[in-house]
């Protein structure tokens, strides 16, 4: 370790109390995107203040059609420019029963075995803890009289929890300022509770939509409101209509198989690079532990190891999230309902587009005469993310893997994650950047009571000091090589 790095690490150890205080200060601001625009704005201002304090050349709170983006440019006169993606909003807390703090916005430091000290509060892990840890790392570099090794362009959004609806617009409008970035980084805490580190080089896409069958649209059955079910002898049912429309979409003998024409046409097989990653992943992939954690007794066809991973990664899906129709209270109510709404979702894999699934379903329904069944999408609010991929050969990926190894961790590298995120905003047109999210430490219970971020870990899970030191080490690596 070179001298300045050592000095910075020491600085972090010595100032950890202040660093924790900075996280608490940030968690205290109730920046609930769905409910508290004033809190969101206060949080945007606080973040802008941090960027000013850091010495950013330019700090802006940029209005969007939704919550503001905080944009900042730190010019280190360095060779490389890194786009840093952050979110400063949090999920709502209503209805949650917290036990480790009275108020989710009054963060507490508590022991939570197997961890000596965790910070409990809304946003602790998602994502204020890692965000401030990254800022702490930057402050520490500067405090030691060193220059940050890369130029930084921060893009911090205030509505990730609402589906990042206006982030794409922001990027589009600011493309001239952003296009010199060579990679995009998002600080996180990527250790699981056992200390294992996961690195996902992308994500699946998702398209969410509702199917709605109503008497109003159909022109048959009850068209206004539910009617008494004694009339069901002579009045048709939108629910039965929907049941048959749904049943036509998958194979009755194996509903995992979608029988909509062309549904799988654009699903690409794994690349050679992918297969290598999957082979390696399979060596440590413990499907039994995962099944147990999920409460699942059998995976599809009782697949295991590599076969299970391939099935999970390279499958598009047609999942029913929920169905709402008619009476659902206690016991019974003699009604013939006028409407049924089915919430559905398809996970998208390379090379599917975000629009083809709904188009194919529309065509399928029309072909069978279900022209009245509506497909409701809410792309402005929620429900559409493109898939994203970053090559394992990208410089930033190699730098992250090296940094992890320096800290004693061999990351489990997924070609992409099974979940979805707005990553494609950075990895596809117009930016086309490699995107990596990384960091040491651990946290859990995002969107749930007693959300926490590990401050003082154990032998396997690193605490805040190491998380910050890791970011410092990584930044030095990112200054030294091509990032693409």
């Amino acid at each position: 370790m070179n001298q300045s790095l050592k000095q910075i690490h020491e600085y972090i150890d010595e100032h950890l109390g202040e660093h924790i205080e900075r996280i608490k200060e940030f968690v205290r601001i109730p920046s609930i995107a769905a409910e508290n625009p004033e809190g969101v704005r206060r949080c945007a201002q606080k973040l802008a203040n941090y960027f000013e304090e850091l010495g950013c050349k330019k700090v802006e709170i940029v209005e969007t059609a939704g919550q503001p983006v905080v944009y900042a440019h730190y010019d280190a006169q360095a060779r490389n420019t890194l786009l840093v993606y952050l979110m400063y909003d949090v999920k709502q807390v209503s209805g949650e029963k917290w036990t480790l703090t009275d108020d989710p916005f009054d963060p507490k430091l508590v022991e939570l075995p197997p961890f000596k000290k965790v910070l409990v509060g809304r946003g602790a892990i998602n994502s204020k803890g890692p965000l401030v840890a990254f800022l702490n790392a930057l402050f520490s570099i500067k405090a030691c009289g060193e220059e940050i090794p890369v130029n930084l362009k921060f893009v911090a959004e205030g509505e990730e929890e609402l589906g990042s609806a206006h982030l794409k617009d922001f990027i589009k409008h600011r493309i001239e300022e952003l296009k010199d970035a060579q990679a995009c980084f998002s600080p996180s805490a990527s250790q699981n509770i056992k200390g294992e580190v996961t690195l996902s080089l992308g994500c699946k896409g998702v398209v969410e939509f509702e199917l709605e069958c109503s008497g109003e649209s159909w022109g048959r059955g009850p068209t206004v409101r539910p009617i008494h079910s004694s009339m069901a002898a002579a009045v048709e049912s939108p629910i039965w209509r929907m049941i048959h429309a749904l049943a036509s979409m998958t194979d009755p003998r194996d509903p995992m198989k979608v029988v909509i024409e062309g549904f799988y046409d654009n699903v690409a097989p794994p690349t050679k690079e992918d297969l290598e990653l999957v082979e390696k992943l399979a060596q440590t992939y413990d499907e039994k532990a995962i099944a147990e954690e999920l409460g699942v007794k059998h995976f599809y066809n009782d697949l295991k190891g590599k076969d299970l991973l391939l099935k999970m990664l390279y499958s598009t899906t047609l999942n029913i999230q929920g169905i709402q129709a008619g009476y659902t209270g206690p016991l019974f109510k003699t009604v013939l309902p006028e409407k049924i709404v089915v919430k559905m979702e398809s996970r998208l894999v390379p090379n599917q587009t975000t629009t083809e699934t709904v188009e194919k379903i529309r065509k399928h329904l029309d072909k069978l005469g279900y022209t009245d069944i509506k497909i409701n999408e809410y792309p402005e609010a929620n429900g559409v993310d493109d898939w994203s991929r970053t090559s394992p050969k990208a410089g930033i990926v190699q730098a992250v893997i090296e940094a992890y190894r320096e800290y004693g961790f061999e990351p489990r590298v997924w070609p992409f994650s099974l979940g979805s995120s707005p990553q494609a905003i950075f990895t596809k047109d117009p930016l086309k950047l490699p995107f990596v999210s990384a960091g040491l430490s651990h946290g859990a219970r995002a969107h749930a009571p007693d959300e926490y971020y590990v401050i003082e870990g154990n032998e396997k899970v690193k605490g805040l000091a190491h998380a910050e030191k890791f970011f410092v080490s990584l930044l030095y690596k990112l200054g030294e090589r091509a990032l693409r």
Copy 2:
């Protein structure tokens, strides 16, 4: 009209204020079967007091496994004995917005066009208004020094709104006391808003049940709780399983046709007597008005008149009341649900049994391998009523029709109603009585806010005085002829 009848009618006119007060007094008692056992008991006691006041030989508040039955025997030393079925409980009011009275249990007399005076309150029409009107008629006969023309055995239950779960038991235990009754009568207000009188000689039956498909029971899919839908690529869905199980039960080209083996086997065609009634009904049946009221644009196959009536009356059904599965809140939630519950119902017609439908569905599911899909029934609480028929030739039916005609009404006689009720408790084993529900006046909004009972009607709809006079006239007719 004979002298004593005339005198009684005059008495009713003169004492109408007191009679209205008696209804209000009874409506004030919050006898909500589902929520207020104390109110139910207070109401039972009040009813018992009325029976005492009337001079009943025997008055008993009989405990059951649920709410008590008030039983009373009025011995008029008459030739005929009439069983009088009453309910003294009411539906809950929570969540309802009443506008015509501040408190559903503080009944108000208001003008409600086209009616000069209606009584508004919970239970006004269902069924405290007609119940007390019938008692008022009896009190009036006695007040004029006359004897009631028939012996009366009152059976008043306090849990009709909970499905009359213990009424059958009561009848069984008291069969020795009840078996000399020749007919069963239930006072009602059978005029619609236009003044037309309907007389239904029975009812359809109903069997309600849930189909439940869960990972827990299936052993596949999520078995404990919903899991993240990113796993849907390799974990099966109980919802899709249920969709196909349901779809197998009806014809996709015409879901009104149930394709479960033997489903229609015991559906009897209309008798010659029925066909005559239906022919007559069709002359005044206004399907357009009914469709409009229901918000239905097309009946099945655009049937009309007699054909529509035959379809409605002589069809068993397989209706979906509601479906609850997974996430049903705003927008979307990325879950793969662990369970789906479908509330279903079949209306039963002669000669179906109350058990055959569920048996056939069970067999159907098992045959297709859906042995894990559960059928939940709650017969003790709700959901099972046998169909019931009373011959149009029964003496009590003829007496009711004559009484209506005396008051200027030609009743529309249905062989049985499309809805269901616990009538079979009286018309089948062990009592096997003809059963008729009848009365003048009108009321509406049962189980809904601003429930009312007409006190002062108009040219077509009779008010309380006529309702009571009708009961008196009917009682005299019932004293004069064989009732079976």
